[in-house]
Every structure is written in structure tokens, then in C-alpha cells.
Symmetry: C2
Subunit: 328 residues, 2 copies
């Protein structure tokens, strides 16, 4: 497959290397000349069968690509999309919010096969220097599937591609993805910030803080502009998710005021204790699903993922977790 | 020193072993015959200079003790205190809440030298089988100091004792301790429970959850009755601490509704990011303090701790952190 990767940071750089190693023809581009130079050197030094190219101009990579991967930060997307006007191949992206990107693509392109993507892979480090072709092995890679919008053949092509890199292809609508990452990834950063604030002005508390504080606040040390961009970029989903957490905390708060706080708290805490003890899901069942949008979306909603696409029998191979969130 | 340790679980068992190894005469007791048997065998097998004894009856340990350490769970304290009627030596405890214990002691005993204690040491495991004489090395050990109540000589004796085990003696009033652990240890368990709840009913979110969820919810898997007893037993302090967190989260929630969520969140998140990056305090300054209640309490409020007691010069050796919670 001819793949153009636009943006050669941690994700884009890792993806270019992984795709080239998987036998695809990869042409990369980055707006930063220094990054292009570093990437070009690395691409030329790769083993013969994993060589790839780095273009000097954006329009050069668009020409013969069958698939364009947008691996630039959200703020850079409109500018890049504007340069892709007229491209009629497949387009995907790797940004961490999917609803807003879906809107941007609609405004700038008329593509039959845009499949929003989000590989749940990351590192403490960033930039091409941290690129790693093995970054996606075993990671969940959300591929957006919109009923009456996404072309299923395009989605299946993306599923073939990401599963060939060892990733788990997770079907979800953009709205479902944004709701899920708001609860699973964005709200945790806000809770960590609030917990840190509760101790920051109390040196005695900071001196007595131990494991529960250390782990509960770890991500609060993330650069504030990154947490703000992540949560702000998904504000429509983070707001309701945070409302749910506030509701739970308000119920716990009320239990503390009763005549028997310990007795009132116990039943409120039992379900979350069981759910956390059962996370992550220990085992999954291998299943085969037809090439149908509804069947794929149901799989994603059940916490499952696609492991491969069988063209001969026109099914996908998938895994459905046996227990999720403590429930069977 | 003749020390009686009542309750031979993880903390009591570790303390009996640590005190014996430090050269004190230790007589232990546990209400559970099986625990007494296990402890007696372990005590007899200890190296000659670290031998200690296990008594068969509670009243036998009280007799010649200069110090009684109450290492039983909070619910068992009233019964044990009732049996100590008439004892006029020093009494301390190791329970994780100090205001309620202070009240219990007042009701049952007239001791001039009760010094509430809380070693911030723990393990995943519990019971005498998990006892470890090195458990207290480097840990913060709060020793309660109440103006116009605690006898300073008794407090200094306890400071000598716990610092001789390698612990950091942290001076604080019972109220200050309970407020600090509410924010640093109890509220984190409630936030972890609420965050788990937000994902427990969404299998897709559970499947996409990664590091920030894993760390932010780790302690939610604690047995619910333990979290309930911990938070319920300190409800008077946990309530206000949770109110503070709810206030911060409500401000963050409001920022998400504005026209520029990212821009509104950034300044709200900057202080906690700096505070968490500066925690734990990297360095401390060695200081000497007079034997004065106010000087010791000020040290604790500044996040400092006592490392030793100098009888010749009538000062305590202490460490005052240079930065706490991100502020110098």
C-alpha cells in the first residue's frame, strides 16, 4: 500500500517506520526542516526491506498515496487539510479527539473514506527521536465507524493495516470514542490536579502523603498546557463525564455527614472496589463477526476489538472480553 | 525501657521486633491465641540480643511496663482501655485517626503522658506473619502534641523511641493530623472509587483506559469495608477535605463550558502541575529546636520532622523541608 504520513513526531515517526517494516511504501513529511532531516537519515539507514522516503514538500506526498495519515497536532490539522483539497484516497488521523476532527474533515474534504483513528499508545518522551516501530504492538487503536457515513471497505482496510502492526482495532463512533476517553483518560487528569491542590497548601499533609497520593496525582505533573489542550479539545464529552464523577463524590460526601458514616460508605464503595479488582479484563473469547457496521460497533461497545480481517470468508476475527469493569 | 505492645498485627508485631532489636525489654500480647503462639515462637527464635516475650493475659503485660503501645484496631480500643484502668505510665497508640482516640483515652484513663501516634507505614499484607522490624525506617511517625495537655517530657521520650527506630517524628495536634491524613490519604481513596465508577459501566472506556486510569484508581480495589472504616472513622476531617476537592473540580467543570475551555483550564491547572512536580520535597535543612511545644508544632506545620533528641543541650535535631508542595 502507498501510505503518506504527514507529521513525523512520536506517533507519525513510529507509524512510518512500522508501516515500512511491514512492507508498505511509505512517504513521510514534516513541516519542520530539522525533523525532515533527522527522519530522512533514519529512513535511509533502515534495513533494505524497511526503507522509506521523506519528501521535502507536502504536495509531493499527496500525489500517489492511497492512504494519507494525518499525524499532526489538532491545531495544525486545518492547514494541512486545506492542502489536501481534491485528494480522493483514504484519509485517517491519529489525534486524541475524534468528533472535532470529523467536523474539520467534513469542512475541508469530500472524502468517501475518512476513517478517524486514535492509537492508545504513548510515551513519556515525544518527537521523532523517540519513534519506535514497535510502539503499536498490543495497543488499542480506535477506528471510527459512523453508520450511514463511513465506507465499510475503507474501515476494513484500516483494520487490516493496524492489526498488521499488532494493534487491536477498536470500532467506535467518534462520539463514543470521545465519551470513553473523557472518562478513561481526560477526567483522571482533572481529578489528579484537584487532589494535588488539596495538599499543595498544607505542608504537613504533603509530608504525610504516601502511596495513595503519589499514584492518584502522578499525571497532575503533566505540563498544564497539555492537560488543558487534551481536556479543552474534548470539552463536550469531558464536561458530562466530570458531572458523573461529581455526582458520585457528592453521594460519598453525604454519607460522611450521617450518624454512621462507615456503615453508609460501605455499600457505596463495594461496586467500585469489585470493578477495579476486575480491571483490566483478564480474559477474552475469540469470535468471528460478519462485515457489518452494527456488529462491529456492538463489539466495541462490549469492550472488544478486531484482531484481523478474513477476506476469503468475509469475516473479522475479534476478541470479546469475558469480564469488563467487574461485570461478567 | 520496659514496653508493652498490645496487639501483634503488622504494626504491633513489627514494633515489638524493632524495639527488642533496639535493646528494649518488650512484652507483647494479642487477644488471638493463634497469633500469640506464632509471635511467641518468632520471639524465642530471635537473635539473643533481640529476644522478647509474649504474655498470655492482658493484665500481665501492664504490670511493670513504663510504656504501653496500643496496636489494636480502633473498634477494639475501648475494651483494651477499660482493662488499663489505674495504669499511670506512658500510653501511645498507632491507629490512623487521632481525635477520636484522644477522646477514648480521656474517657477511660487519667494519664499524664498519653501521646497519640501514627506511623505512616504499611504494606499490602497484614497480620503478624507480615511483621518486619525494618518497617519504620525512614517513615513519618506522627506524635501528637496538644498545648496545655501533652506532657512535653513524655512527647520527647516517644520522639527518642521512634527516631531510634529510624522513623521521622512529626509533631502535630490530633486535629492537624486528622486534617492532613484526610487530604493526603483518605480523600484519595474516595476519588479513586469515583473514577472507577465513571468507567465501570462503560466497557469501551474500560478497554481504552490506560496509565492515568490505572494509577488514579489503584487504591479503589482496597476492600470496601477498609476504605469505609478509614474514611468513616475520620469523617469530621474527610468531609471538609472532600468539600475542598469538590470546589476545585467545580471550578474546572465551569471552565469546560466557556467559549475557550483550553484557555480557561490552563491557568487553573498550572499551580497543581508545579506543586506535583515539586513533590516530594527534594531537600531539607538540618535545624536545632528548643524543647518547646510551639517550636515543635511549627516544625510539623512546615512539613518538617524530628530526627533525634539531645538531652545534654536540651534541643531536638530536626529537618525542615526547603520546598513543600511546589512553594519555597
Amino acid at each position: 500500500m502507498d501510505v503518506a504520513v504527514i507529521g513525523l513526531g512520536l506517533i507519525g515517526g513510529s507509524l512510518a517506520q512500522a508501516l515500512a517494516a511491514a512492507g508498505h511504501r511509505v512517504l513521510g513529511f514534516d513541516a519542520d526542516p530539522a525533523t525532515r532531516g533527522t527522519a530522512r537519515t533514519a529512513a535511509a539507514r533502515a534495513p533494505q526491506q524497511a526503507r522509506w522516503q521523506v519528501a521535502g514538500r507536502l504536495r509531493d506526498v499527496v500525489g500517489q498515496a492511497e492512504l494519507i495519515v494525518l499525524a499532526v497536532p489538532l491545531p495544525a490539522l486545518p492547514g494541512v487539510l486545506a492542502e489536501l483539497a481534491g485528494f480522493d484516497g483514504m484519509v485517517t488521523d491519529v489525534t486524541s479527539v475524534k468528533g472535532p476532527v470529523r467536523e474539520l474533515v467534513r469542512q475541508h474534504l469530500r472524502v468517501p473514506a475518512y476513517v478517524g483513528g486514535h492509537p492508545m499508545a504513548g510515551k513519556e518522551t515525544s518527537g521523532f527521536a523517540a519513534a519506535d516501530p514497535g510502539l503499536f504492538a498490543g495497543c488499542a487503536w480506535v477506528l471510527c465507524l459512523e453508520p450511514q457515513e463511513t465506507a465499510l471497505p475503507g474501515w476494513l482496510a484500516m483494520a487490516r493495516l493496524v492489526t498488521s502492526l499488532g494493534a487491536r482495532a477498536v470500532p467506535a463512533t467518534a462520539a463514543e470514542h470521545d465519551r470513553a476517553v473523557a472518562a478513561a483518560s481526560h477526567v483522571p487528569h482533572l481529578l489528579a490536579a484537584a487532589l494535588t491542590t488539596a495538599v499543595a497548601d498544607d505542608p504537613l499533609a504533603a509530608a504525610l502523603a504516601a502511596g495513595s497520593f503519589r499514584d492518584g496525582t502522578r499525571v497532575a505533573a503533566t505540563r498544564p498546557e497539555l492537560i488543558a489542550a487534551m481536556c479543552g479539545g474534548n470539552a463536550a464529552a469531558v464536561g458530562p463525564a466530570l458531572d458523573g464523577v461529581l455526582k458520585t463524590l457528592t453521594d460519598l460526601r453525604a454519607a460522611l455527614d450521617g450518624p454512621d458514616p462507615t456503615g453508609a460508605l460501605r455499600p457505596l464503595l463495594a461496586p467500585s472496589s469489585a470493578a477495579r479488582a476486575a480491571w483490566p479484563a483478564a480474559a477474552g473469547t475469540a469470535v468471528e463477526l460478519p462485515w457489518q457496521v452494527d456488529a462491529l460497533l456492538d463489539l466495541g461497545r462490549a469492550g472488544g476489538w478486531v484482531t484481523g480481517v478474513d477476506d476469503g470468508r468475509r469475516v473479522v476475527h475479534a476478541v470479546r472480553p469475558e469480564t469488563v469493569g467487574g461485570r461478567t
